[in-house]
Amino acid sequence: MLVLLPQAIIDGVLLGGIYLTVAMGFSLCYGVLHVIDFAVGEWIMLGAFVALTVSTWLHMDPLLSLPVVFVVFAAVGWLLQPVLHRVLSGSRGRPVLMALVFTFGLALAFRGGALTVFGIFTRSLNTALSQGSWSISWGSFFLTVPFIRLAGLVYALAVMGALTYLLKKTDFGLAVRAVAQNKEAAGLMGVDIKRTCAAVYGLYVGVSAMTGVFVGAIVSLNAAMGPDLSLFAFFVVVLAGMGYLPGVPWASFLLGLIQSFFLIYLNPSYVLLALFTILYVILVISPTGMFRKGV
């Protein structure tokens, strides 16, 4: 069994990589808008299905549809944010919980919509990278790295780099960080809060949907997979500490490692049980994440 160890580790890291992008967007969205988006898994699922539709319709590689998916979903998020903002503000009691219920309703509607249009069957996205893999053997150890998983990690690191650049080096990023710190003060300094919030939500929805393309290509896609993916995203965000971006990569890789170790060494049907139990236990022991740096 030891010979499988490098494979388990590399699988975990590559699988964890794709959750990184979702969790970064989610953390950003929470930090700026204070919204816990229960529809995050549904955005991922819808992104994968849109890529499937576009690529079968135009007979092209699903990976080439990434920009289309991003633009479409960023626009949807941009347009949806004002609605969310109205739920969050105003004279209602407990706005944060009401916003949570609102996104929960959206998630149900999206899942229903996807089930209506695409049916209950599990599919997968076939890309040019799906077949190839890269094998190394070294003594009795061996390693297989499928190209698509490697592409997923590269994509995740690229998105992480782009988001970091956007947040740290541009005026837009400065505005986002200011709004996250103090909304009123940022408004007084001339930051257009409505536009910044809409852009952050659009960015988050767009990135989540793009990640869906990789989820569909690496794992599979199914109209009912949203809730599990939402819980994976929560897993990463909670483990990292809500709103604490440096914790996100560690938590993502941990999620990937837990999944791959359960798949290879233990019973695969215990994967979800283990993940949900760990999520619950972590929340109860340390709601601010494993570094205790969350809000």
């Binding site: 919980l97 949570l100 219920v101 309703g105 809730p227 049980l273 619950y280």
Partner: protein, 323 residues
């Protein structure tokens, strides 16, 4: 004439509802009647924790599933009769709420929602992988086909739940204390309320009836599996009904449950070719209610009436002759 106390009204209403199975003996109707009552029970108990205490419990299905599985296991494996098994279902759900509630209720806001949802999913996965629960195949119970019996049992359970909740929430200080926690947890601590204890009491109080309802459901439907008893749809529908009716009131979720169940039945009867459209409507209904009627159906009506009454009072005061 003295005003009739509210608890008498409730008893009279429950009694009058109890006459329905005598008049309407159609098996299909009785099935709908029983299920509507079941959803009323689930919606009002969800509202106890969400509406009164301000904690969104996305693991309401845990109590339901544990009640159903406890009753099914006791009936099938230990040969218990239905009555004690149903009581045991309620006790098991209460114990589970006590054990899980103590750590979970330390979480607040969205963390609590995520925590309870994760717990619900974990328990559903556990029921799927365990052997003695039958795994994904579920369990079959001996059929006991008496629609009237189940209608009355469900009415008894839900009626007793409603009366208990009414006495605790509307007549006793308990309800006010919970609302104080909802409005400001630290503030409630400062005026001498123990939020940790009260939240746990509310959580257990909302779990026990659901456990009993789950047990009755198992014996009534005679087949349970992890998805139908522990799946998200149990909680989801209770959430829609309570929010649609109006959080923080007891009558609101009842109205919400009846309206939504009537709609659901109509939908499944006439549009069954488009089953999954149901999820879309369910989701849009929640989103639209949160957006347009944040107080829910009953909350909006009650607020209007209150406003009108206050207006009339003001008008009457204005017309008083000056001394």
């Amino acid at each position: 004439m003295r005003k009739i106390p509210a608890w008498l009204w409730i008893l009279l209403t429950v009694g009058a509802t109890g006459l329905v199975p005598v008049v309407m003996t159609d098996a299909f109707f009785l099935r709908l009647f029983t299920e509507a009552l079941m959803w009323i029970g689930l919606a009002i108990t969800w509202d106890l924790v969400a509406g009164y205490t301000g904690y969104l419990n996305f693991g309401h299905g845990v109590s339901f599933g544990i009640g159903a599985y406890t009753a099914a296991l006791l009936i099938m494996r230990a040969g218990w009769p239905f009555g004690p098994a149903a009581v045991a279902g309620g006790v098991a759900a209460g114990l589970m709420a006590l054990i899980a509630g103590w750590p979970t209720l330390r979480l607040r806001g969205a963390y609590f929602a995520i925590g309870t949802w994760a717990l619900n999913r974990a328990i559903m996965q556990l029921a799927l992988v365990l052997n003695f629960t039958g795994g994904p195949d579920g369990m079959r119970l001996p059929p006991f086909l008496d629609p009237k019996f189940f209608a009355w049992v469900m009415l008894g359970v839900v009626g007793a739940t409603f009366l208990t909740l009414w006495l605790f929430l509307e007549e006793a200080p308990f309800g006010l204390k919970l609302k104080a926690i909802r409005e400001d947890e630290l503030g409630s601590l400062a005026i001498g309320i123990n939020p940790a204890k009260l939240k746990l009491q509310a959580y257990v109080l909302s779990a026990v009836p659901v456990g009993v309802i789950g047990s009755v459901y198992a014996y009534w439907i005679t087949f349970i599996d992890p998805v139908s008893t522990l799946g998200d749809l149990i909680t989801d529908q209770a959430v829609v009904m309570a929010i649609f009716g109006g959080l923080g009131t007891l009558i609101g979720p009842v109205i919400g449950a009846i309206l939504f169940f009537a709609f659901k039945t109509y939908f499944w009867a006439y549009l069954s070719d488009y089953q999954v459209l149901y999820l879309i409507i369910l989701g849009l209904a929640i989103a639209a209610t949160v957006f347009f009627l944040p107080d829910g159906f009953w909350g909006t009506v009650a607020r209007r009436q209150e406003g009108r009454r206050a207006l009339q009072k003001g008008m009457a005061l204005a017309q008083l002759p000056e001394k």
